[in-house]
C-alpha cells in the first residue's frame, strides 16, 4: 500500500454543477473494497505538492467523485482543470473499517449527507456487481436537486435497494417529503442492520445519534466524516 502509483486520468463525468467523477488508469492497482479511499498527491512544476484523501466511488477500477470546495486548494483543480491524459500520484486502498463486503449477510442501512454519498455508492455498486441479494436501504440527504450525485443511477430501480431522498433546503416539484433536515422518521423503522453513515461532521453526529435513538447497536454503526475543511 505504501507505494505511490502513477494515475492517468482517462475519463471525466460531471455529476452536477459542482461535483465531478474522475476515472483513472492505474497500472498495478491491487483492487479494493467498497468504502475504502485513496490518498492522491499533486505536484506542481516547482516541486510543491499537496495531498488529499478521496473515497473510491465504485468496486472496480479507480474512480473518484470529487465535490468542489469553494476556495479549496485541490478540489477546484480536480473538478475544473484536470483533463484526460493528465497524471497525478495515488496510493491505497486505505481504510479497513468503513467497508462493506459482498458476502456480508446482514441488511444494510446507508445514510449519506451531501458528498458522503461516494463511498456508499461504491457499496451499492459492489452489491450489484456481486449479484448479492442483501437488503439495502439508502437515505441520502442533499441540499437541493442540483446537488444530487448519481441521480439517474439512483432513480433507476435496483431490486432489493430502496432509496429515500431527503432534500434539506429545496425539493423538486411533486416530491412528497417537505424540505428539512433528516429526522428519525426518515431513518426508521428498519430492523437490525449494519449502518454506514458518511457526510460532514455535524450531519454524521446527528444521524448517528438518531440511529442510536432508534435502537441500533452503536457497535454496528460505522461512520466516516468529512472535516469542515474537507477539500
Amino acid at each position: 500500500m505504501t507505494r505511490w502509483h502513477v494515475a492517468r486520468l482517462v475519463k471525466v463525468r460531471d455529476e452536477n454543477a459542482t461535483a465531478r467523477t474522475l476515472v483513472f488508469d492505474v497500472p498495478g492497482w491491487p483492487g479494493h473494497l467498497a468504502g475504502q479511499h485513496v490518498d492522491v498527491k499533486l505536484t506542481a512544476g516547482d516541486g510543491y505538492s499537496a495531498r488529499r484523501s478521496y473515497s473510491l466511488a465504485g468496486p472496480e477500477g479507480v474512480e473518484l467523485t470529487v465535490q468542489r470546495v469553494p476556495d479549496g486548494e485541490v478540489s477546484p483543480y480536480l473538478t475544473l482543470d484536470m483533463e484526460p491524459g493528465d497524471e497525478l500520484e495515488l496510493r491505497g486502498p486505505v481504510g479497513g473499517w468503513f467497508v462493506w463486503r459482498p458476502d456480508g449477510p446482514a441488511p444494510v442501512l446507508l445514510v449519506a449527507g451531501g458528498a458522503g454519498i461516494v463511498p456508499l455508492m461504491a457499496m451499492i455498486r459492489a452489491r450489484r456487481a456481486a449479484g448479492a441479494d442483501t437488503p439495502f436501504r439508502l437515505v441520502y440527504a442533499v441540499r437541493s436537486p442540483e446537488r444530487l450525485c448519481y441521480a439517474d443511477e439512483l432513480l433507476r430501480p435496483d431490486p432489493g435497494v430502496s432509496v429515500t431522498l431527503a432534500y434539506t433546503r429545496r425539493v423538486p416539484e411533486g416530491h412528497p417529503r417537505p424540505p428539512g433536515r433528516l429526522t428519525a422518521a426518515d431513518l426508521g423503522p428498519y430492523g437490525e442492520a449494519d449502518c454506514y453513515v458518511c457526510g460532514p461532521t455535524g450531519f454524521v453526529e446527528a444521524s448517528a445519534a438518531l440511529l442510536v435513538g432508534l435502537g441500533h447497536d452503536p457497535a454496528r454503526i460505522r461512520t466516516e466524516r468529512f472535516g469542515p475543511t474537507g477539500d
Partner: protein, 199 residues
C-alpha cells in the same frame, strides 16, 4: 521519480518547519471517529490504570480534576493530512497519574468509552509527553472532540490521542488497537510519516 501534475499550482499555505511531511495546515478542528459519539455522565465517569500484575488504580471525575494540571500548547497532526498548530489544552500529565503505579511493562493499550482502543509504548506516555485532557481552548472538551476527557499525545498522529478515554492497560507484549489492526501504522510518528502499516 516525481510525477508532475500538469496545470496544478497549489496554494503553498502551510509551508512551515512545524509541519511534518505530507501535512497541510487547517484552522478548523476536523472530527474523525469510527462510530457514534458516546455520552458519558460525569457521575459515572472513571479513569483506570491496570498493571500487568493485575493492580487497578482508579480516579473519579472529581478526583481527576482535583489533581495538579498543566496547560500544554501543542501542534496536532492527523493521519488524514491536516495539522493544527498551537492548540491549547488543560489536562493532567500522565506522569502524575503514574506516580504510584508499579510496573515494568513496556506497552500500553488505551481504551475508551464506546470500545475504541489504541496502543503505544509506555515510554511515549511518560516524561511530559502525554496528558488526560479535559479542556480545549479554554472550554470544556465537547463530546464530539472526545469529552469529557481524552488522551493527548501530540507527538504521534492524532488517532493515538484516544477520545472518551476510559483507561490504560499495561502489557508486557504489544497489543495492536483499533486502527492499528485496520491498516494503520503501529507507532505513527508524523515526522517519519508513519501513516500506514508498511510505511
Amino acid at each position: 521519480m516525481t510525477t508532475f501534475t500538469r496545470g496544478f499550482r497549489g496554494r503553498r499555505r502551510g509551508e512551515d518547519d512545524r509541519l511534518p511531511p505530507g501535512q497541510y495546515l487547517t484552522e478548523d478542528f476536523p472530527v474523525l471517529s469510527a462510530g457514534p459519539t458516546p455520552h458519558v455522565p460525569l457521575d459515572r465517569w472513571e479513569f483506570t490504570i491496570d498493571t500487568e500484575a493485575g493492580q487497578t488504580h482508579r480516579w473519579t471525575w472529581p478526583e481527576l480534576t482535583a489533581l495538579p494540571y498543566e496547560e500544554p500548547a501543542v501542534d496536532i497532526h492527523c493521519v488524514t493530512s491536516w495539522s493544527k498548530l498551537g492548540t491549547t489544552w488543560r489536562g493532567v500529565s500522565l506522569d502524575v497519574l503514574f506516580e504510584d503505579v508499579e510496573s515494568t511493562a513496556d506497552y500500553a493499550l488505551v481504551h475508551s468509552y464506546g470500545g475504541y482502543t489504541t496502543n503505544l509504548p509506555l515510554d511515549d506516555l511518560l516524561d511530559g509527553k502525554a496528558w488526560i485532557a479535559y479542556r480545549y481552548e479554554g472550554e470544556d472538551l465537547t463530546p464530539s472532540h472526545g469529552g469529557p476527557a481524552r488522551l493527548l499525545v501530540p507527538h504521534l498522529y492524532f488517532w493515538k490521542s484516544a477520545k472518551w478515554v476510559r483507561g490504560i492497560r499495561l502489557l508486557t507484549e504489544d497489543w495492536p488497537g483499533f486502527w492499528e489492526t485496520a491498516g494503520y501504522h503501529n507507532y505513527g510518528d508524523p515526522w517519519r510519516e508513519q501513516r500506514y502499516a508498511d510505511d
